[in-house]
């Protein structure tokens, strides 16, 4: 089977850039990565589909291209299109809720991993990773409460520490 080297090189570049972007925390980049990987896969189907030829049903008997991979590619494009629309909606929602589209570590996992680690401090990944930077303002009121809540939780943990220290001192006295 002969394959065009250009197509193979393009596919490799699309795959590598796509996978790199998929590993990012920012959802916008993940979306771009998904689109690149999807297109790379479409190219892969095209490359393996054999030599080019005339359109099926209209061309000469022996010179037509294989129509099945074309149907695969069309289906895959439609699916990619639908999923991208959904991802865009998801990113928008995520941005409205959290003021950023960065995916944080799961708080339950972190709490399990190290019981002393405060859940909130690990969220210190700043929102600079999006095109909105830190300038973005909350689109809905609940998003504004995040900072307040963090402060409240910080104070609570300080109070808990103080209490613990008092208990320790009492025990030491006894």
């Amino acid at each position: 089977m002969n394959a065009s080297l250009t197509l193979v090189v393009i596919m490799v570049v699309l795959y590598s850039v796509g996978v790199y972007l998929l590993l990012e925390r920012s959802m916008t980049r993940v979306l771009l990565g998904f689109l690149l990987v999807g297109n790379a896969t479409n190219l892969l189907i095209l490359i393996v589909s054999g030599p080019s030829g005339a359109a099926a049903f209209f061309g000469e008997e022996d010179a037509t291209a294989d129509p099945l991979p074309q149907a695969f590619i069309l289906t895959a494009i439609v699916i990619t299109f639908g999923v991208s629309a959904f991802l865009l909606a998801l990113i928008y929602r995520s941005w409205r809720l959290a003021n950023a589209d960065v995916v944080y570590d799961d708080s339950e996992d972190l709490a399990m991993g190290s019981r002393k680690t405060s859940v909130t401090t690990d969220r210190a990944v700043d929102g600079d990773d999006t095109e909105f930077g830190t300038r973005a303002t909350a689109a809905i009121s609940t998003a504004l409460d995040l900072k307040k809540q963090e402060e409240r939780e910080e104070q609570e943990s300080l109070a808990a520490e103080r209490r613990q220290r008092e208990i320790d001192e009492k025990e030491a006295d006894a």
Binding site: M1, L22, M27, V30, F34, V37, G38, T41, L44, I45, I47, V48, S49, L68, P69, F72, T75, A76, I79, G82, V83, F86, L87, L90, R93, S94, L97, A98, V103, Y104, D106, S107, E108, D109, A111, M112, R115, S118, V119, E156, S157
Partner: protein, 518 residues
């Protein structure tokens, strides 16, 4: 019969369209969804009887002959899976109707919930009858896109976060699956599963291995097999209770079903059986160790879900008719029991307002009914003798012992230990939620309790009443799981026959190409 086969896929799809047009009439939508799924349940039962008596059915869609057109295949395994998933989908639908009515539809925005749910059903049913790889890919996409919508339904912050993980992981697995299809097509020039078994066998071993591994990775992510399972406990628990129940029951099993088809028909050589057995052991053990450490029931159940996928892989990896029969039986048992447990958890959440084990207590007094509904599937999943969980594990161990290799014995040991640990994790949760007094909760110091949970949140016993319809759906599922025990003998005979049929590609190929392949 062939018309019935297409109806299994067509009815839910048309039902979804019809439900979407009735967006502002929730009652009509409910009626459509319930009647469509009941119809599919009946059709599935009819198919199961027909296939069991007359042999498997292959339908050439649109009249295009087999290697060129799309072919739908129903053998005993497919028919059994259709019946079980239709029953589970119906029960969970009724449960969510009850929850939606009670919550004033805040948890389940009705206008899109029912259509999406039916599309999810379409994808699941289509995956079970797909006779070519690309159709299988499309049905995976149908059910995945529907599941993306269901897992983020309502769009709250935790759900968006959990949904993001789920969606991105699923996208990657789909990309791998599609790339595998492209390469298989490039190597063999077909995607018809029955034809692939012949053409792939002609390829050099190393190329077969690459294609095989790529397919298994794609399906392994969907089935939550050990090294590829970390997305599951992060994403499932955040969804609404009925959605989690149906995801846990069905979606991973669709992946397991695809693995069975891959191992038995597409690559029947058993090239990777040893790898499968090792992965099965790791999935069991690491999954259950995760479950023991959890302090939230939904997360705990998600980890037991991963762990029990290992049992099914064990049956597949043994690669004998007996192993496959046991795996088939175990899949049926696990779909019902895992869904029942998640529904019972939904009742606990509804009644107690939380799923945190450390915050709940004394619920045996306030809601004894839920305690019983949780206790029966708990014993069943843990493999206590009279129940189907015990019978399934026994059949697996027997198949493993007949295999006789060292690895099989190691797996039998792992399986026994894991069933004990399952019982431990679930019984611990049960006794803390239901058995202990409510007063104990306040001073209880759990070594695993998290900072977030030891705050000032008050003890919860019972905050709301639970609608009868939710309890009714859960009771029905518990009844089904008990019926699996009572009628275990005919079911096991059926599984044994299904195991015979799928052990090797001959039966499948004969069904699709009655005149033989060229």
């Amino acid at each position: 019969m062939s018309a019935l086969t297409t109806l299994v896929v067509l009815l839910p799809l048309l039902g979804a369209a019809a439900a979407l047009t009735q967006a502002n009439r929730p009652r009509v939508q409910t009626l459509i969804a319930v009647s469509v799924l009941s119809a599919v349940l009946l059709i599935g039962a009819a198919l199961l009887v027909a296939v069991n008596t007359n042999g498997a059915i292959a339908v050439e869609v649109g009249g295009w002959p087999a290697p060129y057109g799309i072919v739908l295949v129903v053998d005993r395994l497919s028919a059994l899976m259709i019946v079980v998933s239709a029953a589970v989908l119906l029960a969970v639908l009724v449960f969510s109707v009850g929850q939606g009515l009670a919550d004033g539809d805040r948890e389940t925005p009705v206008s899109i919930y029912y259509p999406t749910y039916l599309i999810l059903a379409t994808g699941v049913f289509n995956a079970f009858v797909a006779g070519d790889l690309f159709n299988l890919y499309v049905s995976f996409e149908i059910l995945l896109v529907a599941s993306y919508v269901l897992i983020t339904v309502g769009g709250t912050k935790p759900r968006i976060r959990a949904g993001t993980v789920y969606i991105v992981v699923s996208l990657v697995s789909s990309a791998i699956f599609l790339a595998a299809i492209a390469m298989i097509y490039g190597a063999t020039g077909t995607v018809n599963i029955a034809q692939l078994t012949v053409r792939l066998a002609e390829l050099p071993d190393d190329i077969q291995l690459i294609l095989h591994v790529m397919l298994l990775i794609g399906f392994g992510i969907k089935a939550a097999v050990f090294p590829l399972s970390f997305w599951l406990p992060d994403s499932y628990p955040m969804a609404p209770a009925p959605v989690t129940a149906v995801f846990a029951g069905l979606l991973t099993k669709v992946g397991v079903y695809a693995i069975i088809r891959t191992e038995m028909i597409i690559f029947p050589d058993g090239q990777l059986n040893t790898v499968l057995l090792i992965v099965a052991a790791l999935t069991m053990v690491i999954g259950i160790l995760g479950a023991v450490a959890q302090s939230d029931i939904k997360r705990l159940l998600s980890f037991t879900l991963i762990s029990h996928i290992g049992y099914m892989l064990f049956g597949i990896g043994i690669d004998t008719a007996a192993g496959l029969a046991a795996a088939t039986f175990y899949i049926v048992h696990h779909i019902t029991v895992q869904t029942t447990l998640f529904l019972a958890t939904g009742l606990v959440e509804r009644q107690g307002g939380t799923t945190g084990i450390n915050k709940l207590g004394g619920m045996l007094k306030t809601s004894p009914m839920i305690a019983v509904l949780f206790f029966i599937p708990l014993l069943n999943l843990g493999g206590i003798p009279p129940f189907s969980g015990f019978l399934g594990k026994l059949a697996l161990f027997e198949a493993g012992a007949n295999n006789g290799s060292v690895l099989a014995w190691v797996l039998i040991g792992c399986g026994a230990a894991v069933s004990l640990l399952t019982l431990y994790a679930l019984a611990r949760a049960w006794s803390m939620i239901f058995w202990r007094d409510a007063e104990e909760v306040a001073d209880y110091e759990n070594p695993l309790a998290m900072r977030a949970e030891t705050g000032s949140s008050p003890t919860v016993e019972s905050v709301r009443t639970t609608p009868r319809i939710m309890v009714g759906a859960t009771v029905a599922m518990v009844a089904v799981s008990i019926a699996l025990t009572v009628f275990a003998n005919p079911l096991f005979d059926l599984s044994a026959n299904a195991g015979e049929n799928i052990n090797g590609p001959a039966y499948y190929v004969n069904t699709v190409f009655p005149g033989g392949l060229e």
